[in-house]
Symmetry: C2
Subunit: 339 residues, 2 copies
């Protein structure tokens, strides 16, 4: 039933019906209620824009987050970018919270079965990710934030984590550093594997042996940076330079260095990956912090765009992007001090 037929059946103008259904206050409450009731009764679906009516779309994109750690500063930035793009089409983000991988998988089933979203965004992929096969079998369109080795024809956007850490490691090698520590994410996550590869590649290119004692893994918190850095400083042969995976872990590392009576950018060089949080900037730290920079908010906006393109029929294989990461040299990286 289209708007005209529905309005005729109610003996109301199309304008009144459509105003009532989009919530304009000019329509009397009683009329609005009559229209809403009739819409449900006749199966007339007012639940999205005219576009949604025409295409069978519900006007929401899903994202599933683990309740513990996944509601963090990266997520809010990413969602800010995503929401900013989707709002232009009056599309909402449906956030489902889960507490395990099992409940994540059953949530995708629920979202697909109840036709609650038009597509989902899959994030933090693993090397071999069971979610890919599930989403494909459910026929639920999706874009991956990150990359995976899993089979399947799907679109994704990732930053060049390999290139980022290869660049930062090479920059430190250029400055004469040979004992370079890496604060990385957990093994198994693709981004952490790519960063590890970039680090090892840069070291190998210069013939520098990899020392596992200089590689730490964890969630990117201030405390993680602090504790791992304190551990590095206790080594017999301490690092002269450190690569931090995020601004948060960099803050902790800076503090550990300061407490040890050393100066960042003099005694120890520090470079961090900067996701461009608006509330904490490498330009304002002391010393200003050298970084590899890529805005996670911009990635969110672009992924919103890619989801829209996917829903408009762009083939998934045309929706794959690796974003280069910019090296920004500031004052926290300097030539190694002679022993």
């Amino acid at each position: 039933m289209n708007l005209k037929e529905f309005a005729n059946r109610l003996a109301l103008s199309q304008t009144t019906v459509s105003r009532a259904l989009s919530g304009y206050p000019e329509v009397k409450q009683a009329t609005r209620e009559r229209i809403l009731k009739a819409a449900l009764e006749y199966g007339y679906r007012p639940n999205t824009s005219a576009l949604g009516l025409a295409t069978g779309r519900v006007g929401a994109i899903g994202i599933v987050l683990k309740g513990g750690g996944e509601f963090g500063p990266h997520t809010s930035e990413f969602m800010g970018g995503l929401g900013g793009r989707l709002q232009q089409e009056e599309i909402d983000i449906l956030v489902s919270t889960v507490d395990s991988q099992e409940s994540e998988l059953s949530t995708y089933r629920r979202l697909a079965a109840s036709k609650r979203v038009d597509a989902v965004i899959l994030h933090s992929p693993f090397l071999d990710d069971p979610r890919i096969a599930l989403l494909n079998s459910l026929g639920l369109p999706f874009i991956v934030h990150g990359r995976t080795n899993s089979d399947g024809n799907f679109g994704w956007l990732d930053i060049d984590n390999f290139g980022a850490v290869r660049q930062s490691t090479s920059h430190l090698l250029d400055l004469g550093h040979r004992r370079i520590a890496l604060l990385n994410g957990y093994r198994g996550r693709i981004f952490a594997e790519h960063r590890q590869d970039g680090y090892q590649t840069a070291l190998s290119e210069r013939g520098v042996a990899i020392d596992p004692a200089l590689c730490g893994h964890g969630e990117f918190t201030d405390e993680m940076g602090f504790r791992l850095m304190q551990g590095f400083l206790k080594l017999d042969e301490r690092p002269t330079a450190v690569i931090a995976g995020s601004m948060m872990s960099a803050l902790g590392a800076m503090r550990a260095i300061r407490i040890a009576g050393m100066k960042v950018g003099e005694d120890i060089s520090l470079i961090a990956h900067d996701d461009v949080f608006p509330y904490i900037s490498p330009d304002h730290l002391v010393p200003t912090l050298s970084t590899t920079r890529s805005s996670i908010r911009a990635a969110g906006a672009r992924i919103g765009e890619m989801v829209l393109e996917l829903l408009q029929g762009t083939p998934a294989e045309n929706l794959r992007e690796v974003w280069p990461v910019e090296l920004v040299i500031r004052n926290s990286t300097a030539a190694v001090k002679p022993a």
Copy 2:
């Protein structure tokens, strides 16, 4: 295929099918999975409004965020708590992004008209908030995170911002401080007004005059804390103590103090409001930071609970809570140094 045909094919009642598809816990897991599997196999796709017809609920709670600043660290923590509570009922969070107050208001109209959410959470209220009247007129149930002076019968949860800053100010006064600066949010926001009142009340109680030059306002970023603190330090009569509105602004203030060659907890006392971000803790700063503490994640969880209670028929006037805020004294606050 409609609900009746689908239920017949499964030899189940329509009620069981529709309860299973809307995630009610009364349905056995095995039955639910059988129904979900069959729904996919037969292409039966109940849309959310069909589910709404059966159960009267769509299973989503709305939250509207401004695209610029409202996707920040406070929001992700709050949503982590909210989502953690709602997931137990398989209820999702629908996030709508807007770019102005006007589009925020029209979004509530759209959400109500399309019956896309069962309730919304209104946050960051103003003293006199036009959203309250609109939500009431739309008949859209809501809980406010914060408080407002607006008329209307609604539930809310707020922390005791007045008591928090009254406590922190009194603590500094007890230590002999008389020049106490306040890094506050923007005027007009209720939480910032309450904090201002707490500050002024504590000073008045001791007969200390209020100096407007010691009160700064802005978004709680690292940069805001840094810039305002630098300004305070340039005053002819600089403050001997500072109250920061968040961990982010405290980080900036600490840096400004350090650059000026002074020590937090010796030359200047600092106390911050701590929303308990898991990735940056006052216990790990140097010196450890005295705080007033209240977990915004816990508030999100409780508001999720309150929304569920509201939808189950608890009167809104029984859903009002002010949470006390705990003063935690660490090493960043100390007796004022003799001039």
